[in-house]
């Protein structure tokens, strides 16, 4: 079998439930040129190295337009430039630093820590809602609404507007997917349109918060007085779009993948019930074993790069297959085993280097609280479908629905 068909198999929806054997095959050639011109990198040390390599860019404008690849970048829209996840230093560093001011250390070190009580209340409320039922869709009834409530609260977005921005968010995220058969131009247009509409919505919201500020990130960002530390309106909007999408479409998969994995490992589920502290290492192991972000398809080589005996040419698109690296047997003992007691778990679930996930502490707390509470309160939970139906995306991978039957809900 050639590598090209291997990559097609990986992105093919039929592999969504279990892409791991395909990754194992992919790792046989740590750096592989695909037919499409994309270079896949699938082994741990090579991925980690490239994530710390200044010769790699996250900015699609550095991509050779002829290099192709199923994921040629949308030509960035003049009205809404890229957010910092798609920028390189120094712009990346500046915008990330400004976004961090109201969110975390050094300026707001307690914001996330102080949300723990609230997170617990939200989760408890959602589980209360399952009372009197015998079956629930853990995605629609729990794993999705929870992080959305959190990111709305954090950003200062009215939760009632969720149905509106949900549509835009879905479109933007689908636009990330490498689906070669669809018309590229049309897809790009849809994504740009959605980003623009979401951006317009957030700009209006920011204006409202300027007039009536709350204790949220949007308010803090518009209210910043120091001109050195202030984002322009466009920067503010692109950042808000990024946070809303990232906070919206990732944690849902961690919680859903986590629930699924626990139901497949009843011994661990049982332990978690009696030992809520287990949620801490368990979430790390989930990020290794079933990571919500499977691969990063955004990187470009700025120059010819020698990696693992191969040369990635200047301008070539690079896919860093994080989920494969986190299962690399050269790095992890018995990598296909789910083991919450694993020591030495430096997984790639949140990436690494300067683009390391901005929201990681929040995502961790959300997943820890959610999984511990679910384990404690659902009595005798059982998977209805295994495997469950998955979302289409091979990048942000997780179940679309997760039907779980149970005997009752413990108070």
């Amino acid at each position: 079998m050639t590598q090209a068909t291997l990559l097609q198999q990986i992105t093919d929806y039929a592999s969504r439930a279990d892409p791991y054997p395909l990754y194992a095959e992919l790792r046989r050639t740590p750096v592989a040129r695909q037919e499409s011109g994309v270079y896949t990198v699938s082994t741990y040390w090579e991925i980690l190295g490239l994530l710390h390599d200044p010769r790699i860019s996250s900015d699609a404008r550095n991509r050779d337009p002829l290099a192709g690849g199923p994921l040629a970048e949308p030509g960035e829209d003049a009205n809404l430039p890229p957010s910092f996840i798609r920028l390189d230093p120094p712009e990346h560093d500046r915008l990330r630093r400004l976004a961090m001011r109201p969110f975390g250390p050094p300026h707001s070190p307690r914001r996330i820590h102080d949300m723990r009580g609230e997170l617990a209340r939200m989760v408890a409320g959602l589980v209360d809602g399952l009372q009197g039922r015998e079956q629930a869709d853990i995605v629609d009834d729990f794993a999705y609404p929870f992080p959305v409530m959190v990111i709305c609260k954090l950003l200062g977005v009215p939760h009632e507007d969720e149905p509106r921005f949900h549509v835009w968010a879905e479109r933007i995220v689908t636009g990330l997917d490498p689906s070669p058969d669809q018309d590229q131009a049309e897809r790009q247009r849809v994504v740009q349109q959605a980003r623009l509409e979401l951006g317009r919505y957030l700009a209006e919201l920011a204006e409202e918060h300027r007039r009536a500020p709350g204790d949220d990130l949007l308010s803090a960002m518009v209210a910043e007085r120091d001109p050195e530390e202030r984002m322009s309106l466009v920067e503010l909007v692109t950042t808000a779009v990024l946070l809303l999408i990232a906070g919206h479409e990732t944690t849902v998969n961690l919680i859903a993948n986590g629930t699924l994995t626990l139901l497949r490992h009843p011994d661990v589920l049982k332990r978690l019930r009696g030992e809520p502290g287990l949620a801490v290492p368990l979430v790390e192991e989930l990020l290794r074993y079933e990571p919500p972000v499977q691969l990063l398809p955004q990187r470009t080589a700025l120059t010819d790069i020698d990696v693992a005996g191969a040369v990635i040419p200047k301008g070539a698109p690079i896919w860093l297959v994080l989920a494969s690296g986190s299962r690399d047997p050269r790095r992890f003992d018995d990598p296909d085993r789910f083991d919450p007691d694993r020591r030495d778990n430096q997984h790639l679930g949140f990436g690494s280097g300067i683009h390391y996930c901005f929201g990681a502490p929040l995502a961790r707390l959300e997943a820890q609280v959610a999984l511990a509470e679910l384990a404690r309160r659902l009595s005798n939970p059982r998977l209805v479908d295994d495997p469950p139906p998955y979302r289409p995306s091979p990048v942000l991978r997780g179940p679309r629905h997760l039907q779980v039957a149970f005997d009752g809900v413990v108070p």
Partner: protein, 88 residues
């Protein structure tokens, strides 16, 4: 990684000693988010921490140890002596 911490042994709930390998540390601030009473960022990426965390911060510290992306934080091992216990 289950983080064994001294003092989990019954009856010996003592402060947790910790040290960060600041050569490994890349300033991801995960610790400062999750255990703000113990770890603070000094400027953007210089980490300062209390090498001895109180009983009240144990849970925070465990979260921080597990979350550190480069596994730079070492705490007392589960079976470590609290102090030199042997004959002088």
């Amino acid at each position: 990684m289950a983080v064994p911490v001294a003092g989990d042994v019954e009856g010996t709930r003592v402060p947790v000693r910790l040290v960060v390998d600041l050569n490994r540390c890349e300033g991801y601030a995960q610790c400062a988010f999750l255990a703000p009473d113990v770890f603070t960022m000094h400027g953007e990426e210089a980490l300062m921490y209390s090498p001895r965390a109180g009983q009240a911060q144990r849970e925070q510290v465990i979260r921080a140890v597990a979350a550190c992306p480069v596994q730079a934080i070492t705490v007392d091992g589960a079976d470590a002596e609290e102090t030199r216990t042997d004959a002088r």
